[in-house]
Structure formats: C-alpha cells, structure tokens
Amino acid sequence: MTNDALRRARGRRSLTTLLLLIVACALAGGVLGAHGVSSKDARYLQSIDGPAVVPLLYLGAKHMVTGYDHLLFLVGVIFFLYRLKDILLYVSLFTIGHSLTLLGGALGGIRANAYLIDAVIGLSIVYKAFENMGGFKAIGIQPNTRAAVLVFGLVHGFGLATKLQEYALSRNGLVTNIVSFNAGVEVGQFLALTAVLLALGYWRTRSGYLRHAYVANAALMTAGFLLAGYQLTGFFTTP
C-alpha cells in the first residue's frame, strides 16, 4: 500500500469512529433525556417532608450517572489528564464550583432559565473539546484552564439548583436534603469518573489513541453544539 492509500484508509477509519461516536451520543440523549429528573422521582421529591438522606444521596448519584451532558464534559476534562494528581485537581475544582452553586442556589432560592443553563453546559463541552483539539494553541491564546473548569462547575451546579427548585420542596429538612443530594452527585461523579477513566485508560494503550484523539474531540464538540442548539431552541420556542 502506498503512503497515500494508507492515509486515505486511516481517514476513512477516523470518519467511522466519528460517526459511531455521534450515533452513540445521540442514542444516549434519546434514552437518558438531558439532565432532567424523571417524573416518578419528581413526584417523590415533592412528597418528602423531612430529612431523607439516603434517597436524596441515591437521586443525586443517579442524576450524575445518567446525565449525559455531565458525562460528556467529564470526558472532555480528563481526556488529556494522565497524572492522578492532575485528575484530582481538576475534578476537585469542578466539584467545588458545582457544590457552591447547587447549595447556594437551592438554599438561597436563586434560579435561572433551565434552557439557557443547559445551553451553556452544551457550550462548555464545545469549549473543552476545542481545547483538547489544540484549538487555543493554534489560534495563539491560552485561557486559564483551571479557572474555566471552576466556572463550568459553577454553571453545572446552578443548572441543578434551578431544576431542584422547580419542585416545591418542603422547607422541612431542606438543608439536609440538599446537602445529601449534593453528596450523592459527588458519589455519582466518582462512579462515572471511574468508568470514564477505565475506558480512556484502555483506549490509551491502543496505538490509535493519539491519532483518533482529534476526531474524538471533534465528535465531542459536535455533541456539545447539538446540545446547545437543542436547549436554545427550547429557550426560544417554549413560552
């Protein structure tokens, strides 16, 4: 095979990977439903009157594990992190941001439009994928990555705080319940992170990792755009 033919074959394979990733994202979107709390869980949330630590822990973890927008962002964040120290640093930054706005927003009764928040979350995935593609290096700017992760943590938490407030939660045991929910989100994040790291770790041992990294992040960016478009349309069309 000539070099040219080899390159073309490689290009085709990259394209297949890209399409597969997009299909996987689309399927995940359809099955899981962005970021919402399922109707049965919602009814449960409205029925509780008093502290319910374990159920709220469970719902927080479930929210994180089944929230594909969170998962996509997490994939983007740790895509090029190899050292445990770095992974812990970035994930902690995200957690601090997330916890601050979730607790502050839900307890202080601050909320924003859920569609707008979700659109920003979609764009945060775009941002992270663009950075992973070497986009900022190419255009010669280097935003502070740590600050960005912290800010996106704040946005993600605020989105969740907004959604929690749509359910008329009883004031009785509210603080305990929101703290429990937040703790559950962290448990879920830990579980999701383990799964993502295992998958990435396996992929990293394959020779194709670096070659496909660019395409994989392009797919991630596409998913981010799709999510942002979906949410923005909701913002403009929902009265």
């Binding site: 689309a26 009157d49 190899y82 050292r83 070497g134 986009g135 190419a138 790291l197 392009a218 981010g224």
Partner: protein, 230 residues
C-alpha cells in the same frame, strides 16, 4: 487510575485551516442532526419535513388513537384516549351530609375503579381533622392496604375542593373527626364514576349506599317539539 500510561509528547497543534474546517464540519453536523431529527422529535419543529418522513414528530405530539368504545355495562374504567378518558356510562352525582357529635368520626368513601375520576367539594361548620385516603379492593402481600393521599394527613381544615384519579381499584374518600366538644356539620358534594359509597361511623356501623348514575335521574323536562309543541 495510577496505571495510566506516561503522557505522550504533546501533539503539534493543528493548522488554522484544519481547525476551521473541523469546527465548520462539527457545527454543520450538529445543525443537520438538530434540524432533521432532534427538533422534530423534541419540539415538533420540522422545517425540512424529515421528522414527518421518519415518524419522529409523533414523539413530540403522540397521535391520538381512534377511540376504543368501552363495552356497555362494563365496569367504570376509563379508556384513555389522549387527554380524554372515556367511560361506558354517565357519571354519578352525590350529596352527603353528616352531623358529628363531640369526638365522633365518620368515614365516607366511594368505590372507584383504577384511574376513575372523582370531583369533590366539602365543607365543615368548624375545623375537623381529616384524612383523604384509599383502601385497596384487593389486598396483596407486601402492599399496604391503605394509602393516604394527603401529605399532611389528619390535619385540621374546614373544607376542601379537589379532584382525584384513583391510583388503584378500591374505596376512596375521607376520614373526618370532630376534635372538640361541639357538634359539627359536614357537607359533601361530588360527581364521579362510582356506583356506591360506604359510610363507617364511630359506633363501627358500616352502611353501603347504592348510587344511581345520571342516566337514571330525571334531570330535564321533556324537550319542546318542533314549532314549540310539546
């Protein structure tokens, strides 16, 4: 986690042309998927007609199936047809009035099939303890036979207006208790797809009232014939 391979040398950043091309393709693919599949399926927005062709718009607004006619004389179970619940017979209208002596209680409950609707209004001459609840017609192991519908059951109130969609087949209604020394009058008006009610008093007497559907009640005068002739 600690077994991650050593980081490889950082890849050279892509050229600006590559980057622009990738971003453009990414936006295009996202826009294409959005317009052809996601918007039709989520919001019923279908500018290219692809959603209709692929059957995706049905997800945004599920089609209403042709109404299945419930058989005459069947139990009062609604056949759900989109937002409509269709019943085999007319609803029943009922009024109930009771005087509760000091510290007496009464339960008054309607027999409803699962998903059948009840509309009600009740008022009391003074605050009473109340609990709206249901009691299952069939008791199965592991399922509590009774379920309270009110988050704060047994609180004091002097009236309530509402509607109920029965979560299971059984008797659904109220427990009312006079918390004080004066006699209290309770008046209930309801309409719904039930055929009987049960009244249980403080002395443990249990009385079943058969109720007639509106079909059997003379509500209207005979209509005037053509030209005003009766």
């Amino acid at each position: 986690m600690t077994h991650s391979p050593v980081p490889p040398p950082a890849a050279a950043p892509p050229s600006l042309a590559t980057l622009a091309k990738t971003t453009a393709v990414s936006v295009l693919v996202a826009a294409l998927l959005l317009v052809t599949t996601v918007l039709p399926a989520e919001y019923g927005i279908d500018p290219l007609g692809t959603g209709r062709a692929l059957g995706l718009t049905d997800i945004a607004s599920p089609p209403v199936a042709p109404a299945a006619e419930p058989p005459k004389g069947a139990a009062l179970v609604p056949v759900q047809n989109g937002p409509l619940g269709v019943y085999p017979a007319a609803f029943t209208f009922d009024t109930y009035q009771v005087a509760l002596g000091p510290y007496e209680y009464v339960e008054y409950k309607y027999r409803l099939e699962k998903d059948a609707t009840l509309l009600y209004s009740w008022s009391a001459s003074a605050p009473v303890l109340h609990d709206m609840h249901g009691e299952r017609a069939e008791v199965t192991d592991g399922v509590p036979p009774e379920q309270s519908f009110d988050k704060q059951n047994r609180r004091e109130a002097s009236g309530s207006h509402g509607s109920l969609v029965a979560p299971f087949a059984g008797i659904h209604g109220w427990y009312w208790e006079n918390p004080g020394g004066e006699t209290i009058i309770i008046r209930l008006t309801s309409a719904g797809y039930y055929t009987s009610a049960v009244e249980i008093r403080s002395d443990r007497s249990r009385r079943t009232r058969e109720l007639r559907s509106l079909d059997a009640l003379p509500l209207f005068a005979p209509p005037a014939g053509p030209g005003g002739q009766p």
